[in-house]
Structures are given as C-alpha cells and as structure tokens.
C-alpha cells in the first residue's frame, strides 16, 4: 500500500480497517489479524499497528481480550454510526472539491442525480 505523506501511517491504516468494517469484510465480533501479521501486510513497524488498534479501541470500534486478540465490536449500532460518519466525510470532501471547481450547490445536486440515474439505466 502506498501511504499518503501528509497523514501519520497509523491513521491511514485505521482508515483501511474502518473501511473493512463498514463494508462488511470484517463483521461484528470478527477477530482482527495479529499485530505482527498486519505489520507484515502493510510492511510497517509493529508499534504502528499497536497504536492503530489502541486508537480504534478508544473509538469503541474494536475490543481486546487478553491473550486472545483484538475483535471488531459487536455493537452493530456503533458500526452503523461509523458508516454514516464515513459517508458524511466523503460527501463533505466531494462538495468542497466541487465548490473549488466553481460549481453551485444546485449544479452539484444535478450532477449527482444525473450520474446516479445514468448508472440506474445502465443496470
């Protein structure tokens, strides 16, 4: 994985794991890879993964069971909230970029709805 140079790596890996949780690749109660295995997957320092898991735990998205490993939260409500939050972030980014390109709110809505409808026709 190529990392973005502007953000700490642990945050970027947190983002990948959140994506896996929200997309259902990782389900509530699933065991996360061990710190060492994930460090190998991303080719990063094991302490970077440790930090990433600690932060995810602080956000109540994962929990640790001593000696057993780290697991995805079983609180489906929390996963749903995360999904909504990530959608808001993506949308917010998109809107800001479109504004920078000079589009007005109404135009942005039209572009999105045209795009979604076209997608619908294709299917």
């Amino acid at each position: 994985m190529e990392f973005d140079s502007h953000l700490p790596i642990y945050m970027q890996i947190m983002h990948v794991i959140k994506n896996r949780i929200v997309s259902g690749q990782l389900r509530g109660g699933d065991k996360l890879p061990s710190v060492r295995d994930l460090a190998k997957e991303f080719k990063v320092n094991p302490n970077t993964i440790q930090r990433c898991y600690q932060e995810l735990e602080r956000e109540n998205l994962v929990f640790t069971q001593r000696g057993l490993g780290t697991f995805v939260t079983e609180d489906l409500e929390a996963i749903k909230t995360l999904k909504t939050k990530m959608a808001h972030e993506l949308t917010q980014n998109f809107i800001e970029q479109m504004k920078k390109l000079g589009f007005a709110p109404q135009e942005i809505i039209k572009i999105i709805s045209d795009r979604i409808n076209r997608r619908h026709d294709d299917e």
């Binding site: 140079s5 060492r36 460090a39 190998k40 302490n47 970077t48």
Partner: protein
C-alpha cells in the same frame, strides 16, 4: 523504559579529524531505529564502536547498561554490509559456525528463517545470488536471541521480492525486549518499519525523532525530509 543503548557525549577522532562529534543517543527496548545519512556521515564509525571494533576517543557508551566489551559482544548481533562467510561453505556450515561462536544462536529459529527465505541447507555459498546472500546473512543474524541487532544496509542491491522477504523477516523477528538499529540509504523502502530515525551529518545528529511525529510535523515522508536535510551534500 529499559534502555538498550546509551551514548553520552561521544566523540571519535581519527588523528585530528572528528568522525563523530559529541554524539548523544538513547535507544529503548522494543524500538527499530534508523540511522540515516550519506557516506562519510559517521554511520559506520558509530556501528564499529557499538560492536567493539573501534573505541571512542571521548564520552561513554553503554549497551544493556554495560560498557562495550565481552558481555556486550555476546548480546549484539551484527549484520555487516559485506560478506563474512567463506566460499567453500554450505549454508549448514555457516549455521554451524554461528552456533560455535554464539551461545544465543537458535537453530530452530535459523531453520524457520531459511524456510521463510526459501533457502536450502545444502546450498553452496559461492552459488548464491546477491539477494540470496543477503537473505542468508540476515537469517544468521536474526537467528540469534540478541538484545541489539545492528543491520548495516540490509536491503542494498536486492530485488523487490527479496526486499519484501527481508522486511517481513525483520517484522517477524521484532521483539519488544530487544532493539534494532538499521542503517540505510534506501529510506523510502525502509521508513515505514522504522519507529525512530536519527539523521547523521558530518558526525553530528542534525535531526532525530519518532517517524510518525516527524511526518505529521513536516507533512512529508521521511524520504523527502532526508533529501531536504542532505540536499547540499555532494556525495
């Protein structure tokens, strides 16, 4: 936290020229630290002092709370940047040599590392490619249960597949009670496995810190910071 390396105001002079100039450095247990700098910045001199091949002119050096000597040599596992095995040997002979030399050499671990690196015990040293040689040397060094591993340019001149295997082996053998000190020119390939970096320029530490913090502060990768710090250097 337990400190594996403590260097206090160390200077190394070759006659009148200072190779290391009033250097102070501490490395905690469980850290993988990168020593970054161009040729002639003092990296090799620093390694030679830590491995007991050279003695500092001034200052103090402790490894696991001991002055460099017989004890520290027994707990420091060093990967030199050049070949140190005889051509007539097979890989198993190299393992035997290490077993004879170092009581902390773990044969089981060595066998696992060889399997991981896809190397066979009966391969002859003089038939190995550069990448295979590098993997063998690293397997020997990591198979020791040392407190401090010193890896001098561990991925220099190897292909991308071998590089990934070497990085995986380093991550696999990372242990929270020991430390690793890695020198490299290939900052981009290595920076994500380094927890701390030390930039060495003309024998002095010009920048040091936690890699994640440095990235956040400067908004740049360590590789770009490296280029910035050493931009005026002529190699």
């Amino acid at each position: 936290m337990n400190k594996i390396v403590e260097i206090k105001n160390m200077t190394k002079k070759y006659f009148t020229k200072k190779a290391l100039d009033n250097l102070s450095l501490e490395i905690d247990a469980g850290k993988i630290v990168g020593i970054l700098g161009p040729n002639g910045s003092g990296k090799t001199t620093l390694i030679k002092i830590l491995t007991g091949l050279l003695r500092q002119t001034e200052g103090e050096v402790f490894i696991d709370k001991h002055k460099v000597g017989v004890y520290t040599k027994s707990i420091v596992s060093y990967l030199p940047d050049r070949n140190f095995l005889y051509k007539w040997m097979r890989i198993e002979d190299a393992g035997q040599l290490f077993k004879d030399f170092y009581p902390d050499f773990d044969e089981q671990k060595f066998a696992e590392l060889l399997a991981f690196m896809k190397l066979e015990k009966n391969m002859k040293i003089d038939t190995l490619s550069k990448g295979m040689m590098e993997k063998l040397n690293l397997s020997l060094v990591l198979a020791r249960n040392a407190k401090l591993y010193i890896l001098d340019e561990p991925i220099a001149g190897v292909d991308p597949v071998a590089r990934d295997q070497i990085l995986d082996a380093i991550i696999n053998n990372y242990h929270e009670n020991s430390s690793m000190l890695i020198t490299t020119h290939l900052v981009r390939d290595m920076e994500n496995i380094l927890e701390e970096v030390v930039f060495l320029k003309e024998g002095k530490i010009v920048l040091t810190g936690d890699t994640e913090t440095l990235r956040a502060e400067k908004g740049k990768q360590i590789d770009d910071i490296y280029k910035e710090v050493f931009a005026s250097e002529e190699e």
